[in-house]
Amino acid sequence: MTDSGVNVAPTVSFNSISMVFPDGTEALRDVSFSVDKGEFVTVVGPSGCGKSTLLKIASGLLHPSGGTVDIDREKLGYVFQDATLLQWRTVRQNVELLAELHSVDKDERARMSTDAIELVGLKGFEDHYPKSLSGGMKMRVSLARSLTLQPPVFLFDEPFGAVDEITREHLNEETLALFQREGFAGLFITHSISEAVFMSTRVLVMSARPGRIVAEYEVPFGYPRQPDLRFDPEFAKLSGQISASLRGAHS
């Protein structure tokens, strides 16, 4: 960990990003913001507003039609909407995949995966195949897989959308614990306001297509955050404000 670094430049920064797809769909218009180390920034917006496109651009999977992104893509944490596990690999083998792709040697890989599996609370499940895991557990494997590389930037593309609410809240809390421990810069995409407020240091509201950042909220709560925070009046008030901006952005 490089906690001592005099890291002035933001870890991720979007500069006037716009995106028009070949079929003429305008997904993003003039999007600019940055995420610093130690920040957890969430973008909320209605479905189809181009939130995921933003992450694809950040990761280099898509090239923007205009604007630039400053980001170090060497070790990028990217958690997809689905767990995207390889079903012929056990939990351990799945977690070791990225290290394998980066030609990390076998012993080091084993050490990395052991740590990561323990971090996400899947100790004891190393030799299970994905087909015997629940949706929430698959998502944890996916998280552990990204953790092995100790990425300075973590991109989350609506990762917990497919699991039930109880599991989702639980995963939210675990992700925050990881965020505190690893100190990465987090960029999280969701359409759930309460998830956004609970997780983030900052919430950005994106409008319907073409996606633009229409409002920005600092979240005043410190970490660690307790599950009860969701029932705090402050929490409700902030959620209400974000909800209002979203509705304004929608029309």
Partner: protein
């Protein structure tokens, strides 16, 4: 999914996340209550046995009730087939030899199809342009009736063993190509993105993603083709009879001499060969992919 509802919420805050969901893990391993292993076995064996008895009964019915005595040669009753086709050692020996010859042709043909078909599919999966260039010709090859090119095959490869193998290959190649190609192309988009993000080479992607992902489909192709290769070997033998005598030649001989008992015995034996190869590949598939592959609709 009811387990979650019964889990006390408070159990979550201690961080023992794995415990929280442990019940899900156990679910697939626990056998259904109230059904012993024996009972399950009889459930799967009894219906086909009953139906088999029914078929034999109908067979007897046709031989003795439908057909008059002077026309009974059209369908001899089962015990006649048994006596002349199987119980008579000389005849059964001849049949086994023929079967061995045809099995050899089928295996070699299937082997060539597997190597050729899988390679072609991998080649096509590497670039859309290659797929577009090759695929129409694969379909054309598949669409040609073997009967129509029998003379050509004979001219080119002779009227013996080689031509029989060629027929087995022609008949069994296509399903392997189609299934393998389908399997190679069916890998999840997100996983492909993941490999792209981490700069995986073309070979790495093939080795670690598309090929293992295609295994279930590849084996589905192998199983279909295994049965087809037996058919191909017998059809090939039927037309190209030089050298040792295979099942095709036997069928021809029995038909010429109106030996319908032996004819039926030969038919039964060759279909048993097809079944055996099919089962063998099913077993192999289970060995290779059974541990991880989730069959469609497999969720309880």
């Amino acid at each position: 999914m009811t387990v979650e509802e019964h889990t006390p919420i408070g159990a979550r805050s201690d961080g023992a996340s794995a415990d929280f969901e442990t019940p899900f893990i156990m679910a697939p391993a626990v056998p259904k209550p109230g059904k012993s292993r024996l009972r399950l076995a009889s459930d799967s064996i009894l219906p086909p046995v009953v139906f088999g008895v029914f078929i034999i009964a109908v067979w007897y019915g046709i031989s003795y009730v439908v057909l008059d005595a002077d026309r009974r040669f059209l369908l001899r009753p089962p015990h006649d087939v048994w006596q002349k086709g199987f119980a008579d050692w000389e005849n059964f020996h001849e049949l086994l030899n023929g079967l061995q010859s045809s099995a050899k042709v089928a295996f070699i043909g299937l082997g060539i199809s597997i190597v050729l078909g899988t390679s072609l599919a991998i080649l096509m999966s590497q670039a859309k342009s290659i797929e577009r260039a090759l695929f129409p010709y694969m379909v054309t090859l598949q669409a040609i009736p073997v009967l129509a090119i029998v003379p050509l095959i004979g001219f080119w490869f002779g009227f013996g063993f080689k031509s029989r193998v060629v027929v087995a290959v022609i008949i069994s190649l296509f399903p392997i190509i189609v299934n393998t190609l389908f399997g190679l192309q069916s890998a999840d988009r997100g996983v492909h993105d993941l490999f792209t993000l981490h700069h995986a080479s073309r070979l790495t992607r093939l080795r670690k993603l598309t090929l293992p992902n295609a295994l279930p489909a590849i084996f589905a192709g192998f199983r279909i083709s295994a049965g087809l290769s037996v058919i191909g070997a017998i059809v090939g033998d039927f037309f190209f009879g030089k050298g040792d005598v295979g099942v095709g030649q036997l069928l021809r001989r029995y038909a010429n001499f109106l030996k319908s008992e032996q004819l039926l015995a030969a038919v039964i034996m060759s279909s048993l060969l097809g079944v055996a190869v099919f089962l063998a590949f099913g077993w192999l598939q289970e060995k290779v992919t059974g541990k991880w592959y989730e069959h469609g609709g497999g969720e309880v």
